[in-house]
Amino acid sequence: MSSPSQPSTADTGAATRCPVASADIDASCRLPLVIFFLSAAAWLLCASAFGLIASIKFHAPGFLADSAWLTYGRVRPASVNCMLYGFCIQSGLGVALWMLARLGRTTLAAPWLVIVGALCWNLGVAAGLFGILTGGSTGFENLEMPGYAASLVFLGYLMIVVWGVLTFHQRRERQLYVSQWFLFAALFWFPWIYSTANLLLLRLQARGMAQAVIAWWYSDNLLVVWFGLVGLAAIFYVVPKLTIRDLHSRYLALLTFWMLVLFGSWGGIPASAPVPAWMPAWSVVATMLGVVTVISVFLNMRRTLGGKCLLFMRDPSLKFIGFGLVSFVIGGFTSAIMAWPALNQVTQFTWFIIAKGLLNSYGFFAMVIFGAIYSIAPQVVGHPFPFPKLVRAHFWTAAAGILLFVLPLAIGGILQGLKLQHADIPFADITKGTLPFLRASTMGDLLMAFGHVLLLANVGGLVFQFYRARAVTAWREATAEIQMTEVRL
């Protein structure tokens, strides 16, 4: 069985139909990807702005307090939803579609309908943001967008994904590369969990704690499984390609895939949740088994690079992806260790949870996607980035920002949790004790926001350059003097 072990060399062998040239594939993806990446970068900036407002409220509780729209309990979910649905899923879909087209050696199916889907998705996220700010939040974490916005988002996703599946189906290269398993699974994972959560929580309204269980199940499937599937697909694609090496083992990747989909989807129920005891117990076991996923990814990547981890520093995109990989490994181990009930008892309800969540959604997923965007966007548009130095600057601000956000909150959270175990420490003192750590994390927020400005400048500049060049050519052609040539019949 000839199995492609390196994404770019898979052009020989069993290809039944003539593969499409890379340039044509990129051309077919161009407009959808430009829309995905540009709007994702814009949402990211939006998320930062709301995140900063929420963060400043810990410095000055009176900040913007008189406005119902900007109260902490609305700004924070607004920030999280802009981040998850505006940036993470949207840019992840862009990267996924491009990888599916490239790996299948076929053009993107029906790019125009993908564009309609992307517009629908963005409209949905905007409606959701409006809903949250006006007090229409559903009250379920990571699923705050009200029903009307959720329908739009769902419709947009379906429109995008149907053509993704069709692209996958009409591939010219029949051999599947590792990344394609992950992407194909991710494509239909989201509609299932999103429709389940929205139907059972908003339409049919499950009774009592069943609601919370479903909300936890949804969050875990989105943040661990969907992010894991798309993020790892990008890692398995970009790292071998940019380092010009073969992926070490397809079978190790298969183990990663199975462990992620089988056990990743069972996590998420907090150990202390007031539900039947088997649920958190099973969640603890599944989360601990997540260590196998992490180790298999780590070994695979280490052997792919032949131990030369410094290769990651060679290319700006690889830097982002290397950082994402490290976050994935650290985050996975932390989750597994902290799932242990005695330790979970300490970190539950503290800022540690927030730090761990950000390490996964931003340190791992967003960083990998940044790397992928920085590597894909110039190829798709056919131009280098207008400000290559800003790419490096973005990496360092993002890396410093994540460290400044995650470390203080993790330490502060553990201290907060330890103090919560002692009833003789007044609660007000515990909250006060976390404030210095929160203030440090605001610096991290600021740095990350600055990085988002750089990203938007680069992606926006790239797109602007490309379309200006096109417009100039078109203008020249339109206004060129008509060459009078004699036509002889």
């Binding site: 509780p61 307090a65 008189d66 309990g73 599947l176 009774r207 009592g208 069972w266 609660f427």
Partner: protein, 327 residues
């Protein structure tokens, strides 16, 4: 795996198992919960649906994202047995001797009984008479049910009435955040269910017992730092109306002081949303003894644990003293 359908089946199988496990089974197991009887002796069903205003308050709680800072899940690390006297009986000297004998056993076998502060007083001379005042009072704490039964028997033999109490313990409960751990039944009639994941502010599972006063909740919502100094809670002034006093001051006007007080001739009155939110907070109770969260209520007659605020006045009698909400 070189075939698309195979990948699809693999992922489908994985997601289907977790879907059946957590979505379907939680529907069957938790979604079908019914009201149960409390174990307090009287046949009281639990939970009782919240009154209308409190239900509206749940919507205010949801819309303003209170759950991002306040959890509603109290945990407990276990239960202990306490020996309490409800009646000193006629032969008080014998009762005291019996108690001290039990406490003496404490010194010999430290694992059986721990003397509670009420019994520690015995060292001083006047304590003997104070010892049996202010019953019912818990004297001993332990974890061995056989020893507890023997102790109750020994005390009852002296004409006193001793009672064996099952008391949940844990840091959350020691803070006065509840009487027992939160169970799924507590949320049965709420939608959306917002158990919360953060404790930026104190847990609210039992706040209606701890702080039964609607007016103090309103003041706290309007000016958090007036009630709890240094509180990180944002003020919710948009739930209130500052208006000129026209035909005499409103009975609903908040009593404010310091820089939060309105200028002379003005008053601050709660809008419907604020009143609803306060009604919801006051309706939050997690103190009914249930089969799956056992505890003994000191004397069943004085406590009627329900979810409605009407009972809160009575229930608050054996609650921890109401302190500032930051505790």
């Amino acid at each position: 795996m070189n075939y698309g359908p195979l990948v699809f089946l693999a992922a489908f199988f994985a997601l289907a198992t977790s879907w059946c496990g957590f979505v379907l089974t939680s529907q069957l197991q938790i979604g079908r919960l019914q009201q149960t009887n409390t174990t307090s002796g009287a046949t009281v069903t639990y939970p009782v649906a919240r009154p209308g205003l409190a239900r509206q308050g749940l919507e205010v709680y949801r819309a303003n994202g209170c759950a991002y800072c306040h959890s509603q899940q109290v945990g407990q690390s276990g239960t202990v047995i306490e020996i309490s006297l409800t009646d000193a009986g006629t032969n008080q000297a014998a009762t005291i001797t019996a108690l001290l004998n039990l406490a003496q056993a404490t010194n010999n076998e430290a694992t059986v009984w721990t003397a509670l502060p009420a019994l520690e007083l015995r060292a001083s001379s006047s304590a003997a008479t104070n010892l049996l005042s202010g019953l019912p009072k818990s004297f001993l704490r332990g974890s061995d049910p056989t020893a507890a039964k023997a102790a109750v028997k020994a005390l009852n033999a002296t004409s006193a009435k001793a009672q064996l109490l099952i008391v949940p313990i844990g840091p959350d409960l020691a803070r006065g955040w509840g009487k027992r751990r939160t169970v799924a039944e507590d949320f049965l009639f709420d939608s959306p269910v917002m158990p919360g994941s953060q404790r930026v502010g104190p847990d609210l599972a039992d706040v209606g017992t701890r702080l039964p006063n609607v007016q103090s909740h309103l003041v706290h919502l309007y000016a958090p730092r007036l009630v709890a100094e240094g509180s990180a809670m944002p003020s919710y002034r948009f739930l209130f109306e500052k208006r000129a006093i026209e035909h005499g001051p409103s009975p609903e006007a908040l009593v404010l002081s310091g820089k939060d007080a309105p200028p002379p001739g003005y008053e601050v009155v709660p809008r419907l949303a604020a009143k609803a939110l306060a009604a919801y907070l006051v309706s939050l109770h997690a103190e009914a003894p249930l089969f799956n969260a056992p505890m003994t209520v000191a004397s069943a007659a004085t406590s009627t644990p329900t979810n409605s605020p009407t009972s809160s006045g009575i229930a608050a009698t054996n609650a921890a003293p109401a302190t500032a909400p930051a505790k």
